[in-house]
Assembly symmetry: C2
Homo-oligomer: 116 residues x 2
DNA sequence: TGAACACTTGAATAAATGTTCAACTATTCA
DNA sequence: TGAATAGTTGAACATTTATTCAAGTGTTCA
């Protein structure tokens, strides 16, 4: 009982401790946020929300190099954010998970509603 | 027109280019995701969603040191995720922005619906 | 088959990040 | 005032991360 406001926070502390997620779960959630936290990856994901695209077009949209985009795509693929499918000479990328759109849109909404 | 599937992707490319956010906006959004991408900060934010708490209790909940939590709180404060308010010897922290709850909950939902 | 295109990969480098430690400020109360 | 409590801060360190470059794989087509 070091904190003076023990009484005031009793309920918050109790609820926070009850609701705290397991470390593994927190890490899984954070991994998704971390993947969306890089501007280039965010642009890749945003672009793919409009439809599937090959690496060349993603480079064009993100104004980045083929190699950099490919490295980022690998991370997104490993994190189950995107899916790859070879079509002839090209590799088509698409969004792998339906929740991603909601998370991205929530981020955009947060931006536009700032200052309310 | 290097990509073979130009026809197929014409619409996706067009839409992606139209909808692409400004670099500054992408960076603002990514900053929020980056702040939520660290397990300790995520735990701090989750705990504060249950009600305001002082540093000591946040340490207890996050199983971290006072100094580490304080450093993380400064980042969260700079990013307008949390707010600080001195109450006597303690500093009470609370969530500064209404959208944070939705973003966090979206992350949690993504976790539980994995595999659908 | 071999040249051209599309993409991937590994190593190297530079930059950003998180934690710890020690020293510091701010507040209360005897 | 001074001791105790609560929290902040800066420097140092190790770790992670993103990009670049060069070399590689896979596919198509003449």
């Amino acid at each position: 009982m070091i904190c003076e406001h023990e009484k005031l926070h009793e309920i918050s502390v109790k609820r926070a401790k009850e609701h705290i997620l397991h470390t593994q779960d927190v890490e899984k959630i954070c991994k998704v946020f971390r993947l969306l936290a890089d501007p280039n990856r965010f642009k890749i994901v945003s672009a793919l929300l409009e439809g599937e695209l090959c690496v060349y077009h993603l480079c064009e949209i993100c104004q980045s190099t083929v190699s950099a985009v490919s490295h980022q795509l690998r991370l997104l693929k490993d994190g189950n954010i995107v899916r790859a499918k070879r079509m002839g000479k090209n590799v088509e990328y698409s969004i792998a998970d339906g929740h991603i759109r909601e998370i991205v849109e929530m981020g955009v909404e947060h931006l536009y509603c700032k200052g309310e």
